[in-house]
Amino acid sequence: MIKTPICEILGIEYPIFQGGMAWIADADLAAAVSNAGGLGIISAMNADGEWLRKEIRKAKSLTDKPFGVNIMLMSPHVEEVSKLVAEEKVAVVVTGAGNPSKYMKDWIKAGIKVIPVVPSTGIAKLVARNGAVAVIAEGGESGGHVGEITTMSLVPQVCDAVDIPVLAAGGIADGRGIAASFMLGAVGVQLGTRFLVAKECNVHQNYKNKILKAKDIDTMTTGKRLGHPVRALKTPFSREFLKMEYNSNVSDAELEAYGAGSLYAAAILGDEKKGSFMSGQIAAMVKKEQTAAEIIKEIFEDAEKVLRGGTKWVK
């Protein structure tokens, strides 16, 4: 059995989070992961309060275990959803894409445990000072919006920078990844891409099929020019986006407009031409659809084996 401080802090069985995924991580997926002993997370993405309240209530009806909400700080509804999570007293708020300091006081006052995703040691120190109970150091191998620094480099540096527990995210899909994260100093992990193909995940089947088929070299990042790079599978959409990005005749506004709605097109409509199939570099290691419980059980059994064998080169 693997137990770390994050299990105790949150009252979860396995030190694993299912990462928030816009248009994908809903109440069904979050509740399945929480029921399996991890921390499921509903993605608030760019949705308004009404949608989120419904999902939170649904998750509460599906599980008695703690679950979290992922708040995208770039969302146009951030003020509204930030009040709503306090009203609904969700157990955990995970933030992505920005500096959550402004909202943290109200969440903490409402008894919510705040765990921001951090792309640098500076942000990690800042949120630790503002009362975060843990941080998620997310490397650029991840799917979705990505930072520059890789998981291998970022995790130990964040562990050195703060005294609170650190979770590793980005490029983790099996027991080896978990064991390696622990070696870097993390006490837990967050996975996105592997949970995307969970049986309880309501994403369009075309999306799952693409992840299951993907090879190691099949992801690319676009959007650097706009200041928020995204990692996705190489598809007609992402190739065209990259071309437009390097074309100085295309304005930033045109580029933004081209990208708008592309994750919705992939996740909900399964549109293979216009969709942006965000995915981590680890997609090639995701080979079958399983329930959230099967995924978690399998990877922690593996992690335990790897960790037990960890001394084999020490003579």
Binding site: G98, N99, S101, K102, P119, S120, T121, G122, I123, K125, L126, G147, G227
Partner: protein
């Protein structure tokens, strides 16, 4: 040394900004610093001046930070 000079030194030292480009009215964008850079900068300034600073959206220029530091030192 004035507060501005100390801030400028930190920008040169920690962020490799060019000294002659740093003015009171320089914005972070002009100095090519992104949001991660400015968070780190605030951390450095706090250590240097032994104060605590709250970075917010109204702090857009070197001068804004200098004023905030002077206010915190009073």
């Amino acid at each position: 040394m004035t507060t501005f000079e100390k801030v400028a030194n930190i920008l040169v030292d920690a962020k490799d900004c060019e000294a002659d480009k740093i003015k009171m009215e320089s914005t972070w964008a002009e100095l090519e610093l992104d949001s991660l850079d400015t968070v780190e900068l605030v951390m450095n300034l706090e250590d240097e001046f032994s104060i605590s600073l709250e970075m917010n959206e109204d702090m857009k220029t070197v001068g804004d930070v200098v004023k905030a530091i002077d206010a915190a030192l009073e």
